[in-house]
């Protein structure tokens, strides 16, 4: 009993403890780290990856993966910038960016759901497609953006909070509601848990899968607009490796790559672990090369921990139920 519940505590709060530990260590090593202004910087840095990770969380819970988001960010950003230069209307530019994101997501979803192609392959292909189309469209040159609205999107503050952070918070609130309180959310978990059982329960699995990837595309579109606004230009190579950071945040947050388990609250923590780590190592003057190494090690450690906890849990499987053990297994 004691061991199981300890494992359960570690399982539920392990990553939060890890985040606190990283914050504590960096704070001791460099007092400048622990300040309101630095936390605002961290949050602004986390905003884009956090936004992508919100969509990615739903995709991974549904048992899939979306490798296309980085390329999608670049493509949607460049078309948004292009639309701004062509029409001078920031609203149209934002809509163009979101529409591209959604369209790429929809294509992913349709291919994954109806011909039942593996999501890894489909989104790998659309990643390459987006990257290529972006280079074709821009000729490889950055597109500068000059708009007061975009300045505000990227660098503005509301109540002292950076606007991109507010957007991220809004997205997390929405995704939380979606995953916990709606039929859609239920289906995302159920499909990830056992797609065939869902199909045989009369659920339109294809429709929900398409929707999941489309929503991931939407978060990529939002991230693209914010990134373009922050850089005041659309870079054809923007978003390189973003898909991996988003996946890392989701996995660090305790969502299982095999689907059906996990949740958006864990992803917040996962995204912050990555953000705090990068910021902390920067402040400690660690070379960016080593920062990548550190990120890799943290991900390995986290997944290993998760694996060990799951192994202790499976040892007691197949044993008749008795109240205590059952309670320890309860989640949700």
């Amino acid at each position: 009993m004691g061991r199981t519940s300890l494992a359960e505590i570690v399982k539920r709060f392990g990553m939060a403890l890890m985040l606190i530990a990283i914050i504590a260590v960096v704070s001791v090593l460099n007092p400048r780290f622990f300040s309101v202004s630095n936390f605002l910087i961290i949050m602004r840095q986390v905003a884009i990856n956090g936004t992508l990770a919100a969509g990615m969380t739903m995709v991974i819970i549904s048992g899939g993966i979306d490798l296309s988001v980085g390329g999608n960010v670049a493509f949607a950003g460049c078309l948004a910038a292009g639309a701004l230069r062509a029409t001078s209307s920031p609203v149209l530019a934002i809509l163009a960016g979101l529409a591209v994101g959604v369209a790429v997501g929809l294509v992913n979803g349709l291919f994954v759901a109806y011909p039942k192609m593996p999501p890894f392959i489909v989104t790998l292909a659309t990643l390459a497609l987006c990257r290529g189309l972006t280079l074709v469209y821009t000729g490889g040159r950055p597109l500068l953006v000059d708009s007061r609205v975009f300045d505000f999107l990227g660098g503005g503050f509301v109540w002292g909070i950076p606007f991109p952070v507010l957007i991220m918070v809004g997205i997390y609130a929405l995704v939380y509601f979606l995953t916990n309180n709606t039929k859609f959310g239920r289906m995302v978990y159920a499909i990830g848990g056992n797609e065939q059982a869902c199909r045989l329960s009369g659920i339109n699995v294809e429709k929900f899968k398409t929707a999941v990837y489309t929503l991931s595309g939407l978060t990529a579109g939002i991230a693209a607009v914010i990134l373009t606004a922050r850089l005041m230009s659309a870079q054809p190579t923007a978003g390189a490796g973003y898909e991996l950071d988003a996946i890392a945040a989701v996995i660090l947050g305790g969502t299982s790559l095999s689907g059906g388990e996990g949740g958006i609250t864990g992803t917040v923590i996962g995204a912050f672990i990555i953000g705090v780590l990068a910021n902390g190592l920067n402040l400690l003057n660690v070379s960016p090369f080593y920062q990548e190494v550190a990120k890799g090690l943290v991900i390995l450690a986290a997944v290993l921990m998760d694996k060990l906890i799951h192994t202790t849990a499976t040892q007691v499987e197949g044993v008749p139920l008795v109240g205590e053990r059952v309670d320890a297994h309860q989640k949700q």
């Binding site: 859609f184 159920a190 059982a197 869902c198 045989l200 329960s201 309670d327």
Partner: protein, 529 residues
């Protein structure tokens, strides 16, 4: 059937004689005082178990009685907390599956451990593939060694075929051959006949006999008591982690009823609580339904409150019929009407819309979402009933789930318990609860009591009665003929893809059903052309 058991009895006697002249009555394996504790539960409480050389020893008990824990300790998958294991009279320590294999103990689980893409021969010799000098595989030796093993078993399986291309029964034989090639002296078989047809069971039993004659000892775990009586020399009953009894099957006083009583710890009363429900209007009407490759069209109907059994040998088409009614199998022609309306059966989605529900034969793969809670599994197909504009009302959902849990008697500490942690019987009740919540007109039950213990079976039968009372039209497809005979108002018998007869309750008996199912139709009066 009686023929079969006579023959098995004869073989048993000759084997008994054989045991007497060789190293007779020497235990090959003794497990003494085995105790295993899991957090919050005592899974095994000082259990003694003794396996004689060349014996088929069955272990029976309800789910959770400790059978699988005992086996896992023997296989090195679990470590015992107390007790000793003796092999050939010497204490041994089995701390990993590799230890068990080295000691000649092999377990054949329900999930096979074969590599589907490799050939039969390669699978049989996988742990010790013969190589020539220089490390090259000796393909000729692989083929001939594997052939030898299979010949010893008296079976004819092409050794160069890939395992993927074999049927389940043949894969199981490959698994057995693999164990023998590793010089296994003790083979544990966990529910070996769960997916086998009657003929395949007979073949498996003759393989077991030939292994026993070669001096291999078998531990046989099964829920099917008929088979246990046919094959086993000795039966050990476990209940709640304790050994209740160990009795030779040759003892005349040993009856199935006594074993069931010992397993359950109480009298079950009536095994088949059949409710008498006056049938209503015709709900399901199948007219000239043609399955691709099916020899003749199928027609039948089911009324409200009626349970219609469908029986046939494995592969006679009853599972295909069920899957066709649920949009999982293409229909080549004919018509299906539900309450007089033509039903569109292109996909499960449209079948559910038309008013059909299907309880599949494999609840873990197709019936349940294991990492989700009891509540979420129950409302899986009916979330629209408890939500407005896509937002689920927790309060309404809870009310529906609480009602079903009470109505069906689902034993769970909480409706938020993960369904994966429930026993097989309770999991099956969750599947039934899911469909009762969807509320279709027709419920097709495929093997509804497969792999669940005796007590839970009776509960499932009671729930069939409940569904009949609620006016559902029920199609019961099962390979357990006794349950079909006892629970059905009418029985359709299928033989190689066609419905060969439609027997009214008065004419249904185990004998009549089996006669038609095996292709004999001498009784002849109710043949449907």
């Amino acid at each position: 059937m009686s023929n079969n058991s006579l023959r098995a009895g004869g073989l048993r006697q000759s084997r008994a004689r054989l045991q007497q002249d060789s190293k007779a009555n020497q235990p090959i394996l003794e497990m003494v005082g085995i105790t295993k504790r899991f957090p919050g539960v005592l899974a095994l409480d000082s259990v003694d178990f003794r396996l004689m050389r060349g014996e088929v020893h069955a272990i029976v008990g309800e789910n959770g009685a400790g059978k699988s824990t005992l086996i896992k300790i023997l296989a090195g998958a679990h470590q015992r907390d107390a007790g000793t294991v003796y092999l050939d009279g010497r204490p041994v320590s089995i701390s990993s599956p590799a230890d068990a294999a080295r000691l000649g103990i092999s377990v054949i689980y329900q999930e096979f451990t074969l590599v589907p893409a490799m050939t039969v021969a390669e699978n049989i010799l996988l742990s010790d593939l013969p190589v020539r000098r220089g490390g090259m595989l000796d393909k000729r030796a692989i083929v001939s060694c594997a052939k030898d093993v299979l010949d010893d078993l008296g079976v004819d399986i092409p050794v160069t075929a890939t395992v993927r291309s074999l049927r389940v029964a043949e894969q199981q034989i490959v698994e057995i051959a693999k164990a023998l090639s590793r010089k296994a002296r003790i083979i544990v078989m966990d529910e070996p006949t769960a997916a086998l047809s009657e003929m395949e069971v007979a073949r498996l039993f003759s393989i077991i006999h030939s292994m026993v004659e070669q001096g291999v000892s078998i531990i046989y775990i099964s829920h099917k008591l008929d088979e246990v009586f046919r094959i086993a020399d000795t039966i050990t009953v476990l209940r709640d982690g304790r050994r209740v009894s160990t009795t030779p099957t040759s003892l005349l006083t040993l009856t199935k009823e006594r074993i069931v009583h010992e397993m359950v710890g109480r009298d079950l009363g009536n095994m088949f609580p059949k409710e008498e429900v006056a049938p209503g209007d015709v709900v399901l009407e199948v007219k000239n339904l043609r399955l691709p490759g099916g020899p003749s069209p199928i027609s039948f109907s089911v009324r409200a409150g009626e349970i219609v059994g469908v029986v046939g040998l494995m592969g006679a088409g009853q599972i295909r019929l069920a899957r066709a009614l649920f949009g999982l199998e293409r229909i080549a022609g004919g018509e299906v009407k539900i309450r007089g309306k033509a039903a569109d059966l292109r996909s499960p989605l449209s079948a559910v819309h038309a008013g059909i529900g299907l309880v599949t034969e494999n609840r873990k793969e197709e019936g349940l979402v294991l990492p989700l809670s009891v509540a979420r599994n129950i409302t899986l197909g009916s979330l629209d009933h408890v939500s407005t504009l896509g937002v689920v009302s927790q309060r309404k959902e809870r009310a529906v789930v609480d009602e079903k849990v009470a109505e069906l008697g689902i034993k769970t500490p909480s409706i938020r318990q993960l369904v994966r942690n429930l026993s097989g019987g309770n999991q099956q009740k969750v599947v039934l609860a899911k469909w009762l919540t969807v509320d279709p007109d027709v419920i097709v039950l495929c093997e509804p009591t497969r792999g669940i213990d005796v007590g839970a079976k009776v509960e499932i039968y009671r729930l069939m009665g409940l569904m009949a009372w609620q006016g559902k039209a029920i199609l019961l497809i099962s390979s357990e003929v006794p349950e079909v005979v006892a629970m059905s108002d009418r029985v359709l018998v299928m033989h190689s893809g066609s419905v060969v007869c439609d027997l009214p309750r008065e004419e249904v008996s185990q004998e009549s059903v089996m006669q038609y199912a095996t292709g004999g139709n001498a009784l002849g009066s109710h043949i449907v052309s």
